[in-house]
C-alpha cells in the first residue's frame, strides 16, 4: 500500500510538471495538429492522380497511419532530458538517493505521469485527423484487440527507451547535440511518421534490430493488419524488448550508481 502511494505520488508530480509550463504544452498540441494537417496534405498530393497502391498502401492508409503515428508518438515519446539528466547536471541526484524509493521506479513513475499529462494530445490528434478526413478504422476486430495489447507493450518499450537514454547522461553530460540526435533517430526509426514498410530493405533491417519500432510502428502495423512476422511474433518481440531494455536499465544504473556512490560523481 505504502509502495503504491509512493509510486502514485511521483506519477502525480509527472502529470503536474508539464502543465506548469502551460503555454509550451499548449503550443506542442498546436504543433501536433499542424503536423497532421501537413502530412495529410502531402500524402494526398503524392497520391494525386494514381489509383494503384504504393507498397500495398493506398492513400487512406497512408494518411490514417500518419494521424495515428504522430498522435501515439506525441503521447508515448517522453523526453529523457527532464528528470535524470537535469538532476545529474545540477548535482541533485544525491538528494534522490536519500529518498525511500528506487531511482528507476521513481523515474518510471514520473514518466508515466508525463504520458498521462500528454493525453490531451490524443484528443487533439484524433480530432485533427477527423477534420482532415484521415481517420481509418482498424482492419478487423482482431486487429483492434491486437492494437490495444500492442499499444500497452509500446508504452512499456517507449518508457524504458526514455529511461535508458536518460541514464546515459551520467556519462554523456558534456556531449552536446546528443539529445537532438536521439530525437531524430527515435522519431524516424520508430516509424512514427513513415511506416517502415515504405523503407528500402536495408533500412528496414536496421530499424528491425533497434527497439524504437516496437514503441510505435508495431501497434500501428497491427492496426492496419500488417503485423511484422504475424501478430504473435510482433507482440512477442515487443515483450522481449521490454525484458532486454529493463535489464539494460538495471545494468546501466548499477554502473552509474557505482560511479555516484563509490567515486562521488
Amino acid at each position: 500500500m505504502i509502495t503504491l502511494r509512493r509510486v502514485l505520488s511521483q506519477v502525480r508530480i509527472g502529470v503536474l510538471t508539464p502543465w506548469a509550463y502551460r503555454t509550451s504544452t499548449l503550443l506542442s498540441l498546436l504543433v501536433l495538429a499542424l503536423q497532421i494537417v501537413l502530412y495529410s496534405v502531402v500524402w494526398r498530393a503524392i497520391y494525386a492522380g494514381r489509383q494503384d497502391p504504393v507498397a500495398g498502401t493506398d492513400v487512406h492508409t497512408a494518411v490514417g497511419y500518419a494521424v495515428l503515428g504522430l498522435t501515439i508518438a506525441a503521447a508515448l515519446h517522453t523526453a529523457p532530458f527532464w528528470s535524470i539528466q537535469a538532476r545529474v547536471r545540477d548535482g541533485l541526484i544525491g538528494i534522490d538517493l536519500t529518498r525511500p524509493i528506487g531511482l528507476l521506479t521513481q523515474n518510471l513513475a514520473v514518466q508515466t505521469g508525463h504520458v498521462l499529462a500528454a493525453l490531451p494530445a490524443v484528443a487533439v490528434g484524433l480530432g485533427t485527423g477527423l477534420l482532415v478526413g484521415g481517420l481509418t478504422a482498424p482492419t478487423s476486430a482482431g486487429a483492434a484487440l491486437g492494437f490495444a495489447v500492442s499499444l500497452l507493450l509500446a508504452f512499456g518499450v517507449s518508457q524504458l527507451i526514455t529511461l535508458l537514454m536518460s541514464l546515459t547522461s551520467f556519462w554523456t553530460l558534456e556531449v552536446g547535440g546528443i539529445g537532438m540526435a536521439f530525437y531524430v533517430v527515435r522519431t524516424f526509426m520508430s516509424g512514427a511518421i513513415l511506416p517502415l514498410w515504405f523503407m528500402p530493405g536495408w533500412l528496414q533491417a536496421i530499424a528491425g534490430v533497434l527497439p524504437f519500432q516496437a514503441a510505435t510502428y508495431t501497434p500501428l502495423a497491427v492496426y492496419f493488419g500488417r503485423p511484422p512476422g504475424g501478430l504473435a511474433t510482433a507482440l512477442g518481440v515487443q515483450a522481449l524488448w521490454i525484458l532486454v531494455l529493463a535489464g539494460l536499465c538495471a545494468w546501466v544504473w548499477s554502473r552509474a550508481r557505482y560511479r555516484v556512490v563509490v567515486q562521488g560523481g
Binding site: I2, R5, R6, L8, S9, Q10, R12, I13, L16, T17, A20, Y21, D90, G91, L92, G94, I95, L97, T98, R99, P100, I101, G102, V260, V261, V262, Q263, G264
Partner: protein, 329 residues
C-alpha cells in the same frame, strides 16, 4: 549514531599534459588517490545538536554524504539508528531528513504545497497526521502566504524554510543540515536558527549541522566536531573549546590622549590611536581588577570587555594545523 574509522578515497584520472594530452588522459589508467575523509570516528547520541565544522574542502560534505547513504565509505563503519546507511539506503531514508542549503529537494516547477504532498506520500505519513504536521510547520515557519507559489519563484529565505519543512514532514529521528543559512539575510538566518532549536528541543530530533556561519554554532551547538584535511581536530563542548584555545578576554579602552598602556597581568595586543586593546587570562584575573588598574593609571574615556569570538578561535586552529600539512605536500 556510531562512526568508526571512516575513510573515503576518491580516484581522479591523472591529467596528462603535452601533445595529445586530452586524448591520452582519456585512455589513461593512472589515477591520483585523494583521501577526502581520513579515519574519522565519533558517536552522536539521540537528541544532540552537533556542529560539524571545517574549512572548505575539509571533508564535511563527504562525511555527510556517507552518513546519509549517498556515498559508500572506502573503509570504516557507519551505523545510524542501528542501520548501515549505504547498504540499507531506503530503510535509512525513512529515519533521516536532509537539507542541503545549496540545493533544494523541492519540486522546482510546482507549488510548494505539491512538494509537501508528494513527500508525505513518499514517506508514508498517515494522511490526517501528515496534514496536522504540515499545518504546524506552515505556522511555525510562516509559509502560508507562499504555499501555492511555484518553488522556482520563491525567495531564497522562503525556499530554505520550505526545504526545512520538507525534511521534517516525516519527523525523522535525525536531521542533517548542510549549510542551511548560506546566503540568507540576518532575519532569515535567525528564523532558521530558532526553528532548528525548536525541533531539537520539542521533538528531540538529533541535528547534525554543517555551516560556515559561526553564529549558527554559537547560538545552537553545545558540541562541535572540527575537521580539516579529513581528520578530526577537535570533538567536544563548545565552552571547553573556547576555554582551551581562547582562555582570554580583551579589554578595549579609549584614552583621553594616545599612549601605550602598561599594567600588571594584561598585555597590550593592539593600539590604534587612543584605542588600546589589552588581553588578559580570564581564568587568572578578574575583569574589574584590570579595569581599576587601568583607570587608576590612565585617563580613560571609554572601555568595554570583549568576549573571544569563536571565529577567531577557529581561524587560529585552521591556520596552526593547516600550515605544516601544506608544507609537507
Amino acid at each position: 549514531m556510531h562512526v568508526a574509522g571512516l575513510v573515503k578515497e576518491f580516484r581522479r584520472v591523472k591529467r596528462i599534459t603535452g601533445r595529445f594530452g586530452g586524448l591520452r588522459t582519456f585512455f589513461s589508467r593512472e589515477y591520483d588517490v585523494i583521501r577526502a575523509v581520513d579515519d574519522v570516528s565519533f558517536d552522536i547520541d539521540s537528541g544532540e545538536l552537533v556542529g560539524y565544522l571545517g574549512p572548505n574542502g575539509a571533508g564535511k560534505s563527504t562525511t555527510i554524504k556517507m552518513l546519509t547513504g549517498i556515498l559508500t565509505p572506502t573503509a570504516g563503519t557507519v551505523t545510524v539508528a542501528g542501520r548501515d546507511p549505504a547498504r540499507e539506503r531506503k530503510a535509512n531514508a525513512l529515519n533521516i531528513g536532509v537539507v542541503f542549503g545549496q540545493r533544494s529537494q523541492l519540486w522546482w516547477d510546482l507549488p510548494l504545497r505539491e512538494s509537501f504532498r508528494a513527500l508525505r506520500d513518499l514517506y508514508g505519513v498517515p494522511s490526517a497526521e501528515g496534514e496536522r504536521r504540515q499545518r504546524e510547520l506552515v505556522e511555525l515557519l510562516d509559509m502560508a502566504e507562499f504555499l501555492d507559489t511555484p518553488v522556482r519563484q520563491l525567495s531564497l529565505g522562503q525556499r530554505m524554510r520550505g526545504d526545512l519543512a520538507a525534511a521534517m514532514l516525516h519527523q525523522p529521528r535525525l536531521l542533517y543540515l548542510d549549510e542551511p543559512t548560506v546566503g540568507l539575510d540576518v532575519v532569515a538566518k535567525q528564523r532558521i536558527r530558532e526553528f532548528i532549536a525548536h525541533i531539537n528541543a520539542e521533538l528531540g530530533t538529533t541535528v547534525i549541522l554543517t555551516t560556515h556561519d559561526l553564529e549558527d554554532v554559537e547560538q545552537l551547538c553545545r558540541r562541535i566536531i572540527l575537521i580539516d584535511h579529513g581528520r578530526v581536530l577537535y570533538d567536544g563542548g563548545l565552552a571547553e573549546l573556547m576555554a582551551r584555545y581562547a582562555p582570554y578576554r580583551d579589554l578595549v579602552v579609549t584614552l583621553a590622549e594616545p599612549s601605550d598602556v602598561v599594567v600588571a597581568s594584561a598585555d597590550q595586543v593592539k593600539r590604534d590611536g587612543p584605542v588600546v586593546t589589552l588581553r588578559f587570562r580570564s581564568d587568572q584575573v578578574k575583569a574589574p581588577e584590570i579595569i581599576s588598574a587601568v583607570t587608576a593609571a590612565y585617563p580613560v574615556v571609554d572601555l568595554s570587555v570583549v568576549e573571544p569570538r569563536l571565529e577567531a578561535v577557529i581561524s587560529q586552529i585552521y591556520t596552526q594545523r593547516g600550515l605544516p600539512e601544506m608544507v609537507a605536500s
